[in-house]
Every structure is written in structure tokens, then in C-alpha cells.
Symmetry: C2
């Protein structure tokens, strides 16, 4: 395996919307459905599908509760999810570091 091997990147995390969800939850620990939707910029249906996928991978934990008698769904990045996210970011950084320090530097 080289650092450029694309299969080293966790496919469950590496979708734009799921990556955004994971990054958001990593920063917050927990978040409510509507808050995630706003931050991510996703539609209800699309967000549901991807949250489900992350739940099935056991990266996030879903809790249904009531706030002011209204049903609220809370999503938490759990231990397995955090570990997976850290590994993903580590490998992503490794991949990008190969490309001339993120390719930002101009050739002199």
C-alpha cells in the first residue's frame, strides 16, 4: 500500500455530506437534526439517508427525546465513530502531504 492508495480512506466517511456531518459532530459531541441540517446545508431526505448510513456503521448514536413536549432527535459521535474519523483524517493528511505540502506552494 502506498500513501496514494485511495482505498485507505474510509468509504463510509468519505462522502461530502457524511464527512461534513462527522466533522460537525466531532466539534460538538452531540447535535440535533435541524441544527445539523442547517449547518451542513442539506435537505431533510438527503440528511436522513446519510445519518442512517453513519448509524448503521455504528459511528453515531441516535437518541430520541422530548424538549418542551416536542420530539427531538439527537445525534452523537460515539467512540467508534471518533476513532474512525481520526484515522480517516490522519490518512487524508498523509495523502495530501505527499502532494508538495498540499500543492499550495508555487514552483520557483
Amino acid at each position: 500500500m502506498t500513501d496514494f492508495d485511495y482505498q485507505q480512506l474510509d468509504d463510509i466517511i468519505h462522502s461530502r455530506i457524511r464527512l461534513a456531518i462527522m466533522a460537525l459532530l466531532a466539534s460538538l459531541e452531540t447535535a440535533e437534526f435541524t441544527y445539523i441540517r442547517e449547518k451542513i446545508g442539506a435537505t431533510d431526505g438527503n440528511l436522513s439517508v446519510h445519518l442512517k448510513k453513519l448509524e448503521e456503521a455504528e459511528y453515531i448514536t441516535v437518541t430520541k427525546t422530548f424538549v418542551d413536549r416536542k420530539p427531538v432527535t439527537i445525534y452523537t459521535l460515539n467512540k467508534k465513530g471518533r476513532k474512525a474519523f481520526e484515522l480517516y483524517v490522519e490518512r487524508l493528511e498523509q495523502l495530501l502531504k505527499q502532494s508538495n505540502r498540499f500543492g499550495v506552494e508555487e514552483k520557483k
Copy 2:
């Protein structure tokens, strides 16, 4: 748009295999088909499809030439591609930075 808006990430680059190709080409300027295939760990068919997509987006330039009378295809990350890659990495970093410095730090 928030930093977590997933649509800020260039969809053409953000596929595991195309990201690996872009990172590899950003580090090398040019590379031959078989070299990319080995580094990325892709099959011929799969690699062709994704190189085609990057070529159609005008991110890479394809040159057919001969080496020792054998046909060789060379791929180059062009100016537009490099710019797109830099923007992509910048936004990706922004997204990940939000998540508690890449989520690596443990809560004390």
C-alpha cells in the same frame, strides 16, 4: 454558507480515487497511466473512467506519445486543475479545522 457546508467541496475532486489521482499528479506534475495505476491501487477500467472525468473537467491534460516505439499516455495536472485542487484542499482543511483541530485532541 457555513464552514460545514458540504457543497463547498468540489465534487469532481471529492471521490476517493480522483482525489488520489489529483494528489499524485500535484506531487509529480506528470505521470504515466501504469504508474498512476500502481500508486493509486486501481484497476485499468476504473482508473480510465476517473481519468476521463478529470480530463472532461479540464483538470488534467492527456498526451499520447511513444517511448521506445511503444505508445505511452501521459497525464498532467494543468493550471485549472492545480487551482481547483488548491481550493479543494483549502476548504477541506477549513472543514476539518472546525472539528476541534481535526478531532484528534482528547477532551480533558
